[in-house]
Structures are given as C-alpha cells and as structure tokens.
C-alpha cells in the first residue's frame, strides 16, 4: 500500500507516462509503476492527503472522536462489466458502494482506500477516466481516498479492471440501527424507484439487443441518510438494496428480527421502462440490484416525518411507503399483488435466469 496524498505542490512531469495501455511493467514496482501511480492516481486524488506519502494513511484520533463514539469499517469489491454504463461507471460505483455501506449503518463515511487490479492491455485513458470518476464521486460524497494499491495481471487473469474500496466512518453517539430491530407495526419505506441499476447493467451488456432509456441509480446516499436520521432518530434500520434487490433485503430483515413483512405491489415504485424490460426478459424487478435505492424501517408514528425528510432531498424525491412489518410468520415476506392475490417473496436461489417463454 502507498499513501495517495501528494507531496506539496510537486507534480511529476506530464511526459513520463507515455504508454497508451497498461502493461505488466506498470505493476512491476519500477519506474513505470511509479509513473502510473503518480500520474493517474495521485493526481486524481490530489487534496485527499492526510499525511506525507507513506505506505499507510494516518489520521488523528481526535478528529475521529469529534464525529462520534464508534468506528464503522467496511470493504467491497467491484467487478462490473461493462466498465461504463448509463448513469455511472465502475469508479463511481466503487465510491458509492462503500460510502453507502457505511452510511446505512448510521456512520459518517470519512476515509476510503482504493485498490485496483488491472488486466494488462487496459487503455490508460480509460483507467484515468475511471479514477477521475472515483475522485469526483468522493468529493461529492465528502469522503477522502487516502491510500491504495495497484496490481497488474496478465491478460485473461481479470476482466479489464477490478476495484476494491474499504472505508472507515464514525457513528455518532446514540445511533443504533440494526436488521434485528424491526417490530410489528413498523413501516417499510424506500427512497425511490427500484431496479434501475440492475436493468441498466443487463441492457448495457448488449447481449439482448434491447435499448432502453434507463440509467443506473448509482449515487452516494450519505447526505440523504444524515438528513433522515436527523429528522427521524428513532429509525430502526437502513440498507441499500444492492445485489438481490428489495426482495433480499426484506427477507434479511424478516429473518433477523423474526417478524413477517407485507408489501403492496401497487405502492412499490418501479419505472414503466424497468417493468417493461423485465416483462420481456422474464425477470422480476424485486430482485434487480440497486445502487442508490435503500430500504428504511421506521416506527409507524414516524412514517410521515421520514417521508417528508427524504422527499426534501434530491435523492429521496420518489420516497414511498411500500409495506409494513407484521406479527405474521417470522421470516416470511408476502406481497399483495396488483391483481388482488398474495404471493410469497422468497430469497433468490442463485442468479436470476430468464424464463424460456
């Protein structure tokens, strides 16, 4: 690992990184690697410095303590294909994913790491674009990328670019969110539409020659979450509905809290385009991934306040109450369908495979 902060105003000369594609030499520890790190990473993450360039980032405990009384830590790896998709790219995703994982625990995300594994042959311009996207998203989310690592592997050993980000945040005193805290009578809210990210990625892979106007919802949610938790400190639980979608998060809550959950299909916000996309391919939008949509459980008495607070934020305009926690069979998630029937919404087995006909 090496600290990604810059040393003063000193900049490596532009001409040093001449190659147009990453080669194994860029991971060899020599001059080429030094140039790559400085010209691509250090330059993009300028201003993120917490200490002089060392093998590790260093922070003052005093600064951390000022934010709260517990540390939160998380890590996530990003291997999305294609690297760029409508509404985002792997760089933006790598920041949002880790920021959101910290924020849904009630933490204020502060510092992130950035480890990349690059397949030899990757266009350096593309790499730079992805790293700049990370830097931009980090600024937007108010977090610093403070240390990182670069590895280059042979062609075929990874798919173009894999990114791992770990993150540290601080949880303010008194905040205690948990998937085991849902109680019968609580309500289930979401901050916006479901399935946009999953549908975007499937469409962007180009396997099915369907073009859609759908964009990924990929966004850092820490601002929205801070606003919500300030307005509704009694919030029980938050989770971003990433892989496995809404259905998976609801099942996790139902199991961890030993409660039943009942949602209503006609109150669950899904764009017409995403519904149409799923109809054609035989997919269920409840299982599609999201990167900027989260599930919130709050006591019923706080429902209106929570919705109002979320709707006042740009990322929460589409906030909706979609269902309730019940004292029904523990671990069971049921959906009242638009048609008037009831169905069980179970966890997905393996990946969602399209139906034949």
């Amino acid at each position: 690992m090496s600290n990604l902060g810059t040393q003063g105003s000193e900049k490596p000369p532009e001409s040093r990184l001449k190659a147009s594609a990453v080669t194994l030499a860029h991971g060899g520890g020599g001059k080429a690697m030094h140039d790559l790190i400085h010209e691509v990473f250090v330059r993009s993450f300028e201003g993120n410095r917490t200490a002089p360039l060392e093998d590790q980032a260093r922070f003052s405990l005093e600064d951390l303590v000022a934010h709260g009384d517990r540390l939160a830590m998380t890590t996530d790896s990003f291997v999305v294909s294609p690297l760029k998709f409508p509404g985002g790219d792997i760089g933006k995703l790598a920041i949002c994913g880790t920021v959101n994982d910290l924020a849904v625990g009630g933490a204020k995300p502060l510092y992130l790491t950035c480890s990349v594994i690059i397949e030899e042959g990757l266009d350096i311009g593309l790499l730079r674009e992805m790293v700049e996207s990370m830097a931009r998203t980090a600024r937007e989310a108010g977090v610093k990328v403070v240390t990182g690592d670069t590895k280059v592997v042979e062609r075929g050993a990874c798919d173009k670019l894999f990114i791992n980000t770990a993150g540290v945040g601080v949880i303010p005193a008194g905040r205690d969110l948990g998937s085991d805290r849902a109680r019968g009578g609580d309500v289930i809210l979401v901050n916006g539409v479901l399935g946009d990210h999953g549908a975007t990625i499937l469409a962007a892979r180009g396997d099915m020659a369907i073009s859609t106007p759908i964009e990924s919802d990929c966004a850092p949610l820490n601002g929205l979450i801070e606003q919500l938790l300030t307005a509704v400190p009694e919030t029980r639980f938050l989770r971003d509905a990433t892989r496995g979608g809404l259905a998976t998060v609801l099942n996790e809550i139902a199991m961890a809290s030993s409660v039943g959950i009942e949602i209503e299909e006609d109150k669950t916000p899904i764009r017409g385009e995403v519904r149409g996309f799923c109809e054609i391919l035989g997919l269920d939008p409840l299982y599609l991934a999201n990167e900027g949509t989260m599930v919130c459980v709050v006591p019923e008495s706080a429902a209106a306040r929570a919705l109002e607070s979320m709707r006042a934020h740009p990322l929460g305009r589409g906030a909706a109450l979609i269902g309730r926690v019940t004292n029904g069979r523990p671990g069971r998630v049921v959906m009242q369908t638009v048609f008037g029937g009831r169905r069980i919404v179970d966890m997905l087995v393996g990946e969602q495979l399209p139906r034949i006909c």
Partner: protein, 378 residues
C-alpha cells in the same frame, strides 16, 4: 404499461371471482370433491403464482400445474447429452437461461460452465447463429427446447443458416409437441381432471382446432387463455361455466392472439425442418409416443445428434422423485416425499423444482407454505 395493465385490473378480477363462486355452488360434484382444472402451460403456472391467482379462488377449485414447462420435463439423460456436447473440443454451447440449472445425472450446464466448458446463455436461436458467424473456427451448438412456441424460431434459424451457408451452426433438438402429451395425460388411468386451461402461445402456432378431440372424445372442456392474470381468471371462469352447463367444448379466450387455424408460415417452417420422433422420454411421465421432434434428413448437417458423440442414455429419475404424479395432478407438490427436504430449489432432485414455471419451485417460492406444513405435519 399499455395493453398490459388493463389485463391486471383488480376490479374486473373481483367481478369474475364473484361469478366463479356463484357458478361452483351450482355444480353438484363440488360438494364431495373440488373441481380439478389443469393449466397445461408453464407460462400460466408462472402467472398464477406471480399474481397469487390461486389464493383468490374458492376452495371448490383446485389447479393442477401441468407438463407445459419444457425445462421441467427434460430427462436427465438429455442434460447429460448436452454436457457431452459442451465438453467436445471447440464447442460453444448456447442455451436459454432457465435450462442452465437443470440437473443431469452428474452435473448441470451451470456446473459444466464452472468446470471450463464454454456455455453461453442466449435469448434467441438467432443469437447462437450470430455467434457461429462471429466464431468460424468454433462449433456453435444451440440447445433447442420447448413446445410449438419456440419451434418456429428454431426452424427459421436453421433455414437461415442453410441460406447463409453457415456450416459451424448445430442444433441439439429437444423440441416436444403438446397434443400427444395432453392425450397421454387424458389416457392415464389415474386421471381426475375436470377441465383444462389451454396454452396461449402454443395455440397461436397450432391453432385452436387442434384440441377438438379433447371435447369430442374425452368430453372435457378446454379454454385457451392468455398469460395475464385476468386472462387466466377469465379462462377459469369459462371452464367452470361449461362444467356448470354440462358442456365440453374448446373455447378461445385468447382470440386477440390465437386464430383457429394457427400460423401457416410458422407451421410451414416447422414442417420443412422437423419431423416426429417415434417416441421421446419425458421426465416424470416416461416415454410418450410421437411427442418428440427431430431434424429431417435434409438438415442432417445441422443436427448435433448426428455430428457429435452423444451418449443418448436413458437415466432413470431418482426413485424418491414423484414429479410424474405431480405433473399428472395425482398428488400435490407438497405431498411428494422429498418436497422441501431433499428436494429444494438449491438442490433440486426433480426438475419441477428447477424452473420458476415448475409447480414445485413455484409452491416452494411463492406458494402457501403454511398449507404445506399443515399437510406435512398431519
């Protein structure tokens, strides 16, 4: 969504349910046993569970989820053949998504891919043909399966491959045909069905008159229905209405799509490329005469069975598996000895547990598990 949401209108559903309830009261036999209606098609099974249609019906109606899920009736031996082809040198094996998880005697295609075979999911046989053109040094095999719904697109793809002289495209033909299958169910000595919901998309190809024998010879009513929940409910209402009137006829609820004579262009393409097999092995149902489809001699060079070494062995279903009885409506999924214990969607023993169109997987994932537990505990 236009032309979709209209067919999911809960108010219309309530009206139909009231009508169905009042009709079943007039049917004398429902006092001793429920009416048993089979939906033949897996698409219907999916819609029934997806929208909770079964939970809305009165107790006097029992739905039997029939053999119309092509993935569910695929015998293990055929999956083994797929894997043998996929393991052959220079092969790209292409398949529809939900066939990936069907267990063979040793592994599924999903496991074969993990073991290094080039297995790719496609959405149309034309995707496979495109892959063949893009990879002239590979042999691209398309795993063709499904009833008459998918048969025309496969046939047209073979005709296109012939026209474009694509010599590295092959078809592993596992198409099956619906009429002999329904006949086999009707001839079964355990038969206890009162009526049928006929498949919508199959009928679009073969036409509604193909079912006349069911009314004429077997005296059972059949209503061809669409796949939206209101279509399904409307279809059930029409079946129940016929039973209450003591009539057995073939009616077409899906007339916005299904013509009496079917689709002549599709039928012509099917007739040019395919012919009936003498018999074909079904999972759970055993061998059914003239129910399978193979490629005609004229298209032998596209036929994977003639161009690859396939073991073509019959592999017996696991002994504990009762897929056949479930398919025929003799038992309910949860009455099966291994349902939810040895056989789950994570580790399916029988193929009815594999696809979301399979009755067992549908019950396991969407269904009324409380009812299942109550029956099992009793």
């Amino acid at each position: 969504m236009k032309y979709v949401d209209e067919f999911r209108d809960p108010e219309k559903a309530k009206y139909l349910l009231r009508e169905i309830r009042s009709l079943v009261q007039r049917i004398e036999t429902t006092k001793s046993r429920p009416l048993s209606i089979m939906e033949v098609c897996g698409g219907h099974t999916h819609a029934i569970f997806r929208y909770g249609v079964e939970t809305m019906l009165p107790e006097e109606i029992e739905l039997v989820h029939g053999p119309g899920c092509p993935v569910c009736v695929l015998p293990m031996g055929r999956v083994d053949d797929c894997i043998a082809i996929a393991e052959s040198p220079d092969v790209i094996f292409t398949t529809f998504g939900d066939a990936m998880r069907v267990p063979g005697s040793k592994k599924s295609l999903l496991q074969a891919r993990a073991d290094g075979c080039d297995v790719r999911m496609v959405y149309s046989p034309l995707d496979a043909l495109r892959l063949a053109k893009e990879n002239p040094n590979k042999k691209v095999v398309f795993f063709a399966l499904g009833f008459e719904t998918t048969m025309p697109s496969t046939a047209l793809t073979v005709l296109q491959a012939e026209r474009e002289k694509v010599h590295n495209f092959f078809l592993f033909c596992n198409h099956i045909t619906i009429i002999p299958t329904i006949k086999a169910i009707l001839d079964s000595p355990e038969l206890s069905l009162d009526g049928f919901l006929g498949p919508g998309h199959v009928s679009m190809v073969i036409g509604s008159s193909s079912y006349d024998f069911i009314a004429n010879h077997y005296k059972r009513p059949l209503v061809i229905a669409g796949f939206e929940p209101l279509d399904v409910l409307h279809g059930i209402w029409r079946v129940v209405k016929m039973i209450s009137e003591g009539r057995a006829a073939i009616e077409n609820q899906y007339n916005r799509v299904v013509p009496a004579g079917g689709n002549p262009v599709a039928l012509d393409a099917i007739g040019r490329v395919f012919e009936l097999r003498e018999f074909f092995e079904w999972r759970g149902l055993g061998s059914i005469d003239h129910s399978g489809i193979r490629m005609r001699e004229a298209y032998a060079r596209f036929d994977a069975e003639r161009n690859f070494l396939v073991p073509a062995l019959t592999v017996a279903d696991p002994k504990s598996c009762q897929c056949g009885e479930v398919l025929k409506g003799v038992i309910k999924p949860w009455d099966c000895k291994v349902f939810g214990t040895q056989c789950t969607p994570e580790t399916p023993l029988g193929s009815l547990m594999v696809s979301s169109e399979g009755a067992c997987a549908a019950y396991y994932q969407f269904g009324d598990i409380d009812k299942v537990h109550a029956t099992k505990d009793a």
